[in-house]
Amino acid sequence: MSVLDFTLVVFAGSLFAGFLGSLTGLGGGVVIVPLLTVALGVDVHYAIGASLVSVIATSSGAAASYLKEGFTNMRVGIFLEVATTSGAIVGASVATRLPGAAIEVVFGAVLLISVYLTISLREQQAADAGPAACETLARRLRLSGSYPTPAGEVDYVPRRVPLGFGIMAGAGALSGLLGIGSGAVKVLALDQAMRLPFKVSTTTSNFMIGVTAAASAGVYLRRGFIEPGLVMPVMLGVLAGSLVGARLLIGARVRLLRVVFALAILALGVEMIVAGLHL
């Protein structure tokens, strides 16, 4: 395939990934890597490099609108970023040492696990985490905040901060290893483990995704994972697709999309493991 044809195909695929990502709120990275590796035969190292850049693009591209609303908790974000960025360096370092096939298998496994978690956690409302003893570190670090509602500002205090910190380190490692945003893991940690209000979780997670990815970017660059000719259509396509998706968000059947998305991720996860194991 010529470079031009290939670029156009990648651009189209990235448009779709960005579009789907912004509509469902799920990451574009999880679509980009399998798309490039399974469908287009791109080496996984180049694929995760391109995916990482697209994660930063969508994160910063969408960022401006979130900050103003008053939901993002900057202290929580910065504090947890100590964990995510450190984890990202570890993950990226591992990625430079693993053979491509191993990365593919891990990626596929993560996809399958994420589908399973989406299904199993949806119904379950985590029981209240317990008494205020879980809040000591949050109070010590002044992590509590408030968010705007029609009835006025509502206060909240994060719970189980050490657990959240630990999960975030893992999320960062995943991000660095696989070139994804780990947004879902971050929201999970903030929402389920730390019991933050949902909108605070999503906006704070968005704040953290780009920073986490930036930590791995330099490592990826130094090791040659970032191929300009490949990253170019991915970045532009995902940005354009997410812009369109954001416009169409009103009136979209998000629930149906999520189901379709989950099924697609399931298929892609299996494909990646198969590819990685050279079956």
Partner: protein, 113 residues
């Protein structure tokens, strides 16, 4: 702060798009080489090389420069947070922000473990 982010993303997009068009004009009819990973083939692996190439208007270097600008936008977010905490005289969070910036700097300069 939102403006800084937007400007950064726009600047990055312009650089990447401009470099991309030039790249396609130059290389559009060649065969792709992405199916096997070869570190030796990667020439633009340091910011210095990228800037030099961009000044010479090499398409791939222009794209890479745009990517650097893009990667710097989240760093700007942390910097702004640091400034906000400094303004509030919040020493603990100034320190946390500095730690994050140090880790970012470590990663961005290509170090790994």
């Amino acid at each position: 702060m939102g403006i800084v982010l937007r400007v950064g993303v726009v600047m990055a997009t312009v650089l990447v798009a401009a470099g991309g068009i030039a790249y396609l004009i130059e290389h559009g009819d060649r065969a792709t080489h992405y199916h096997s990973f070869a570190l030796a083939a990667a020439s633009l692996t340091t910011p210095a090389a990228i800037v030099r190439g961009a000044l010479a208007l090499e398409p791939t270097a222009l794209i890479a420069l745009g990517l650097i600008v893009l990667v710097l936008t989240p760093v700007a977010r942390v910097l702004f947070a640091l400034l906000a905490f400094a303004e509030q005289r919040d020493r603990l969070y100034v320190i946390f922000s500095l730690i994050v910036l140090c880790v970012l700097f470590f990663g961005l300069t290509g170090h790994s473990l």
